[in-house]
Symmetry: C3
Subunit: 163 residues, 3 copies
Amino acid sequence: MGAPAQAAADAAFDRVAAELGYDFGGEIKIGGNYVPFVANGDEVYVSGQIPRVGDQVVVTGRAGAEVPLARAQLAAKVCAMRALALLRQAVGGDLGRVKKVLRITVFIRCTEAFTQQSEVADGASEVLYAVLGAAGVHTRTSVGVLQLPKGATVELDLVAAVE
Amino acid sequence: MGAPAQAAADAAFDRVAAELGYDFGGEIKIGGNYVPFVANGDEVYVSGQIPRVGDQVVVTGRAGAEVPLARAQLAAKVCAMRALALLRQAVGGDLGRVKKVLRITVFIRCTEAFTQQSEVADGASEVLYAVLGAAGVHTRTSVGVLQLPKGATVELDLVAAVE
Amino acid sequence: MGAPAQAAADAAFDRVAAELGYDFGGEIKIGGNYVPFVANGDEVYVSGQIPRVGDQVVVTGRAGAEVPLARAQLAAKVCAMRALALLRQAVGGDLGRVKKVLRITVFIRCTEAFTQQSEVADGASEVLYAVLGAAGVHTRTSVGVLQLPKGATVELDLVAAVE
C-alpha cells in the first residue's frame, strides 16, 4: 500500500480538523532563528509542536492531575495536526506526497505517578493514520517530562520521507 | 573496520542475551497505529524501547532511589537488546547488514538528585559494541526524565544505517 | 542563500567563542563506547552536548531556580558551540561545508514552574545563526526535564546536512 491519493489525504486532514473543531489553515507562527520545517533530500524535519491553535495553547497542565487522559490525547491530536499542516506546506500543499512518517517523539508533561504516556501518544498516532493511511504509520517514542514550553501538556516532533 | 561478519554479530547477540538471562527471540508486540521500525533509504528508525521481556517490564522505578545504578544499567542493556532484535528483523534477520548505529537517545527515569544518566546509558552502549563491534559505535544523548511508559526505568530509541 | 563561505563561518565561530570568553579549540573528550559524531551519507549526527568547557561544566542547576534565564541561555550557547566544534571536526575543519542544520533538540533542566524552554533554546539558535548564517537555521524541539548528566542546565543534540 502506498500513501493515499492526494485528494484523499487532504480531505482526511480537513475531516479530522472539523472533528476536532479547530482551524489549522492559518499560518503557523514561529519565533527566533529557527523554522517550522527543513527538508533535506527526501526527508522533512518538523519542529516540536505544542497544542497551539492560532494564538492560544488549547491544552496546558499536567497529565494525571488537572489534565485527564482524554484531554491529553486531544492535545496529542492537535500537535499531530499542526505537524501535518507544516508537512503539507513542506511538500507544496499536497499531503499525498508524504511517503512515510519515519519518527514521532511525543513529550508528555505529567505527574510523577502518571505512566500512560503511550496512551496519550496514541492520540497523535490515530491522527497520522486517519490522515495519511499507511504512509502515516510511524515509529514512536513517548516520554513523560517535567515541563514544556508555555505549560503545554504535549509536545511532538516528526521526521517524514516525502516524494 | 567494517561491521562484524553476519555470523559474528548474530552469535554475539545470542551470547549477550544468554549473559543477561533473557530471551529476545519472540515477537515484540506493539500496540496502536505505529510500528517497531521503519526503513527509509539506508536508514532504519526503531521505536522507543522499554526493558520489556515477553509481557513483563523487568526494571521499573527511579534510578537513584529504588533502582540502583547497576540495575538501571541492566535496564539500558535490555532496551538495547530489544532495539537490536528489531533492527535484525528490519534487515532480514542478519545483524551483519547493520553498517552503523547513528544515534541512540536514552531517557532515564530518575530522582531529581540523580546525575549519572551517562553511566546508565553506558549499559546500552556496551551492548551495541559487544554485538555489532565498530558498527555499533554511535552518537548518544542521555536525559533524566520524570516518568516513562509503564513506569519503566529506561527508554531507548535508535536510528541506524544498514546495507 | 547558501552557507557562508568557509572563512566567514570559521571566523564567526572564533568571534562567538571570544564573545562567550571560552576556548572551544581543544579536543572534546568523550567516554565509553560512543563517539561525538557519526556521518552517514550527507548527514552528521552529533552526540548530546552539555555546557562543558575543558574539564568543567560551566552552568549547572535548574532554570527557574538557581539558574536565571540569561544564564540558562548562556548554557545553551555553550552547548551549541560545542556541537559546532564537533561538526567542524566532522567536515574536516571547514564549517563552510555545513549545508544545513536539520534539527536541534534542547533539553533544559528546570523547575516544575518554569515554562521558558523556548527562550532558553533561543540562545542555541542565535549561536547557530551567528556562525553559519542561513545554513544554521534549523528545526527545534525544546523540552523541560528533571535532570541532566553532571547536573548540567542544558543538553543539546544536533543533526546536520553537509557537503
